[in-house]
């Protein structure tokens, strides 16, 4: 039995927000209960990077503001010695990774309960975000393989370009759970003019 509760518990989805042209140029959907791991270590330590590659199949990105993904896992560069790993709900890989890293210099922090992911997309997503995000979201600056830590409407977020969504170009927004309700409501407000669909949460895997 799980007692986990989405931070968006008070927002009843789906919500249909028709814009002035009675269309929706923006959609938003929570991807709840995924595994979030904050990992720190030395990327020059082959044992460290191999332990990660062995468990989630990803070689940690060392270029600033880039991410790599494989199957159901993604790894985002956060700092020269820090990454955010996001993966499936089950904890097997976390345990495996933790055990492999035990003899090595590292810090593995399970932060799944503290943050969640919004996936957003639609023709207007860059414009909606640009109304309160100082990051350059132009396609030439923010494109496939990019991630960035920045601020949207005063909430600290990690933005991850999601190239694998069947609905088209999309973006994952990682946000602290205490800011999630604020950010969701803010996004609906920002998208009101162009119209939006707030979809029911993605079924977790």
């Amino acid at each position: 039995m799980s007692f986990r509760q989405s931070p968006l518990i008070e927002i009843e989805t789906p919500i249909h927000g028709p814009g002035v042209a009675a269309q929706a140029s923006f959609w938003i959907q929570e991807r709840p209960f995924r595994t979030h791991i904050n990992l720190r270590g030395d990327p020059a330590d082959a044992g460290f990077t191999e332990a990660v590659a062995h468990t989630i199949g990803i070689s940690l990105p060392v270029d600033p503001n880039t991410c790599a993904s494989k199957d159901n896992w993604g790894a985002c560069w956060l700092a020269p010695d820090e990454w955010l790993l996001i993966g499936p709900k089950d904890q097997d890989s976390t345990r495996d990774l933790g055990q492999r890293l035990v003899p090595l210099h590292h810090a593995l922090t399970e932060v799944s309960g503290g943050q969640t992911v919004f996936r957003v997309g639609g023709d207007g997503w860059r414009d909606v975000l640009a109304s309160a995000c100082p990051l350059d979201l132009h396609p030439r600056a923010f494109r496939a393989g990019a991630c960035a830590q920045t601020v949207i409407a005063h909430a600290n977020v990690v933005l991850i370009y999601a190239g694998d969504d069947p609905r088209g170009e999309a973006l994952d927004i990682v946000v602290r759970r205490s800011f999630a309700d604020h950010l969701a409501r803010w996004l609906m407000d920002a998208a009101a003019e162009g119209g939006f669909e707030f979809l029911a949460p993605a079924t977790s895997s």
């Binding site: 600033p64 503001n65 956060l78 700092a79 100082p134 990051l135 830590q149 920045t150 601020v151 600290n156």
Partner: protein, 93 residues
């Protein structure tokens, strides 16, 4: 608003950063051997330059690294950014 070049993340908006005061102030090795004046000088006295100023910034909403910025306190122009332990390229007055 300023646009500041984080040595890791590149150009970002000022609201992602936090100011950390004058750069290159080294804590004295043996504070117990200092006079009150010397200790107070370390703690409180700053150059307060009008013009080029070396200062510390932290990319708090980004990679959370500290780094140094050479900034003109009159024009607000950012003249150089460099990582901790480095010195800016070019001469500094």
């Amino acid at each position: 608003m300023l646009q500041i070049e984080c040595p890791w993340c590149g150009a970002r908006d000022q609201q992602e950063f936090q100011y950390g005061g004058e750069a290159h102030i080294v804590r004295p090795e043996s504070p117990d051997t200092l006079t009150d004046e010397q200790w107070a000088d370390y703690l409180f006295n700053r150059a307060n330059s009008k013009g080029v100023h070396a200062e510390q910034w932290c990319h708090t909403a980004g990679c959370r690294r500290w780094f140094n910025v050479l900034r003109d306190t009159v024009s607000y122009a950012v003249l150089a950014v460099y990582r901790p332990g480095e010195r800016p390229s070019g001469s500094v007055e």
